[in-house]
């Protein structure tokens, strides 16, 4: 079971979080024209890397904040966590 450091609450068990997918995906701006390729990339296309991956988690049983977690998908090692407004190096 992973041990995730919520930037607001501190180290908490995985049980308190819910997974939210790739954090690097950026939604096209609202009210702006987008090509269907761009839109399809946003909705469907995801990389599935073996190794470092920046992903979203929500602390649903805690502060309810969405956070960024940089995790190794092969070893589950967590290198860094951050608020969604912060950058992961």
């Amino acid at each position: 079971m992973l041990y995730i450091k919520c930037p607001y609450c501190g180290l908490r068990a995985q049980k308190e979080f819910s997974y939210g997918g790739d954090a690097t995906v950026k939604r096209p701006n609202i009210n702006e024209e987008v090509s269907s390729e761009e839109w399809d990339n946003f909705v469907y296309m995801r990389k599935s890397p073996r190794g470092k991956h920046v992903e979203l988690w929500q602390h649903i049983a805690g502060c309810r904040q969405w956070i960024k977690v940089q995790r190794d998908t092969a070893t589950h090692e967590i290198f860094q966590t951050a608020k969604v407004t912060e950058e992961i190096r």
């Binding site: 079971m1 992973l2 041990y3 068990a13 819910s18 939210g20 939604r27 096209p28 609202i30 009210n31 987008v34 269907s36 839109w39 946003f42 909705v43 469907y44 979203l56 929500q58 649903i60 309810r64 904040q65 969405w66 070893t75 589950h76 967590i78 969604v84 407004t85």
Partner: protein, 998 residues
Amino acid sequence: MSQPFRLNKEGLINRNKKISFTFNGKKLFGYEGDTIASALIANGIHLVGRSFKYHRPRGFFGAGVEEPNAKLQVEFNGHSEPNVNATEMELVEGLSATSQNCWPSVNFDVGAINNFLKMFFPAGFYYKTFMWPKSFWYKIYEPFIRKAAGLGVASIEKDKERYEHKFEYCDLLVTGSGPSGLASAYAAAKNGAKVILAEDKPRFGGTLLTDDVSIDNLSGKDWAEKIITELKSMPNVTVKNRSQVFGYYDHNMLVMFERVSDHLETKSKFTPRQRLWYIRAKETILSTGSIERPIVFGNNDTPGIFLSAAAKEYMKVYGVLVGKKPLIFTNNDSAYETALEFKKNNVEPIILDTREEHSSELIDEAKSKGIDIRFSHGVIVANGYKKVKSAKIGKLNKDKNSFEKIETVDCDCICVSGFWTPSVHLASQSGNKLKYEEKIDAFIPDKKKQHETSVGAANGSFTLEESLKHGFENGSNLSAKITETKTEISIPNVNEKKYGAHDKFWCMPLPKNENPKRFVDFQNDVSVSDIEIALREGYRSIEHVKRYTTLGMATDQGRTSNLNGLQLVSNIENKIVPEVGHTTFRPPFTPITIGTIVGREVGMEYMPTRKTPMHEWHEKNNAVFVDAGAWKRPRYYKQGNETLFEASKREAKNVRENVGICDVTTLGKIDIKGPDAAEFLNRVYTNAWMKLPVGKARYGLMLREDGIVMDDGTTTRISENHYHMTTTTAQAANVLSHLEYYLQIVWPELNVNVVSTTEQWAGAAIAGPKSRDMLSKLYPDLDVSNDALPFMGYKEAEFFGVPSRIFRISFSGELAYEINVKSDHGLFMWEKMMEVGKEFGNQPYGTEALSTLRIEMGHVAGPELDGRTIPSDVSLNGLVSKKKDFIGKNSLGREAFNVERRQKIVGLIPIDRKSSIPEGSHIVQDQNAKLPNPKLGHVSSSCWSVENNNPFSLAIMKDGKNMIGKKFFAVSPLKNKSIEVEVISSHYVDPEGKRVRS
């Protein structure tokens, strides 16, 4: 009754307390502190089970977790448990144990015929034999094999015992209380670290209890006791016996299995039987010790053959002799300690040492005590069927593959030692890639992936001095990093015997023309010849050899067989062991009960139960409940002998004709506030929200980004910057997370806050033509006319003195209102409504009637919004704005969503107007067409239309709207039904929606 193999005084058992138990129906006794194994051996009983494949007689082999044979069916405390390890289970008054895998009895087992047919049961026998003819598998082969194989019998009774889970955090977890574990725990505790010390056995001390050593002039046992006593007195230390750390998971999460009360005769009501500990440790010391390895020889599975350290443990801990005429068969010095212990108890052993004549401290001591030592000797084959009677022994020639001399000697037990294997299971589970240590011919931990450190024998250090030193150093250094305190501890003086080098000899050769079984894995009956066959047939990878032969795949996880198997493969393949590699170690290290894994999460505690404030009233009024997620909702209110069908029809009819009330508290409610709330809703919903006036509600539809409908519900503008959103019961949590996602990540610039208020409000719907009359009685001072409170109107007013919110919204399609009051007033509101509603014929209605009402109106719900439908599929494209952008809008242009003949919602009625159409039925053109019959759609919701008094269903059907008027079949192979149906509009009742506006 005397115990012929019990010593007069040795051992740590309590001779003042006798415990009676039965074995295979025979009444026996042992002492407090005995295991089932030690008590049976004391009584001279060795034959306890039959082997898995050949049904060969089996006895005890070890004295703890390493035991491969002695698995018993055990009954105590009123429950029956299979596969209990007799060497671990402590004796408790009234316990009854029986042998497994034998019929009719362990003494006479019909299955033993397999043993005499063993040439027909080689490795891969099942794979090769039962493949043909294919049709025989299910009816003949599989049931037969299932009956013949397997060990104990699982109980079909409900487990009445209590199990618990515990979550714990510590600085240092120490797994094992042998010398290195005690030293680590002690050093860390002195540094002020929060320490948990776990010991699998009932007694602390590990090998200190059985080895002839002294530490600071104390015996090993006394030193262990001194340390444990001090540790127990320290507030920062938790010391646990009968606790096996069996799994090492991610981020230093370890899981421990504690046998809390299996050894207790009586216990209080709330004492759990077993407890599962989830321990998050900053650092872990793995002091799991080592397990003795056997040497492989002929008929080495005969009862009476033991690991030599187990024989010593039976003498020193339990005061029990495993035999009175022992042969000690060894390739190293440690078995000499067992021989000396026998000698001390006036039993004359013979030592067969595979090594050539040489000397060491222990050999010299054995010689000086007059023990018969035969160098370059080994056991070729054990004689005796149900118990060892004699052994054919041989003097090995120089290259150790043939014999100079063979003779037979009488014996009643053989104690075998093939050196030691570190228990690296936990280290390996943690991700540590093991390395092969030539010096000890075994794997030890290498580079760590997590915060674990192996010390002592688990790390391949087999001397007490080294183990203690490693323990103290690592315990001190690891804890000092955490506590930033370092207390100096002087490492105690140790007195131990020095061991000479072991012999790299693992498997006894056979003389010509002799072919007894030589077992490598006892529990799965895997012999040397099985491994030879696997290799001959081309299996090379050790993982494949393991699966083909089942070597090491039994519940003992190959603790005594893995390395011997590897040595054999490497010898035959002419490879060195590290090239062969090892198989994967997986949790649990020892079998644990299902009850412990489940813990308290059974029955009502399986998941939380959510009850509305009106629940008590529903219960009192014969509500039959249905689960809606965690909620309990009344499905119908039973009157007399009514069935579900009759009651729901009555309730729905009453709504159509008079008025009914329904508990709608479970709907998700989200409070939305902020100056950008309107803009936010406008982006979240498909329809327009910028112009919704204060005091008005609107029905809204939200999509996922892929264009699929996510949820629907009404949202009401309470004040300028304040909205009240409702969601379906099922989607409440998802919708909240969805909103939070967009506010926190995508559009943080929007100044909006959302919070769930589902639990804060109690809700009741009042529906039916007489609902306005009833409402006016509930709010005598309020103008509730159609002009003052029109469809989609909203008002706040006092409900008999308590604040309330009135929404004129309708799910039933009737003239309807929903009243919300604070949860605390929910029951009051409900009871008032029942009282006031009497004169209008008001009746409560449940979810079944609610479904009927919405289905015949063609209102969609979960079964239609099933994660596959877009707005136009369910005829809600009128709610999709063309003018503005919203979540998922760009996806609606996808080609597949706009093809001709795209699926649409329709209504179905049976041609005979009588047959109910099962939900989930497929719609087909021809019910007799050849399979696969082309599917045109499926039935999503079904009801008995109370308005038209015949069945009616909603369906999602290809090109649905153009199918209206045509006839098809609704086929349900599951219910074995095929019903001819006609396609009609999905709006079966009041298609113009006049009633809600009336």
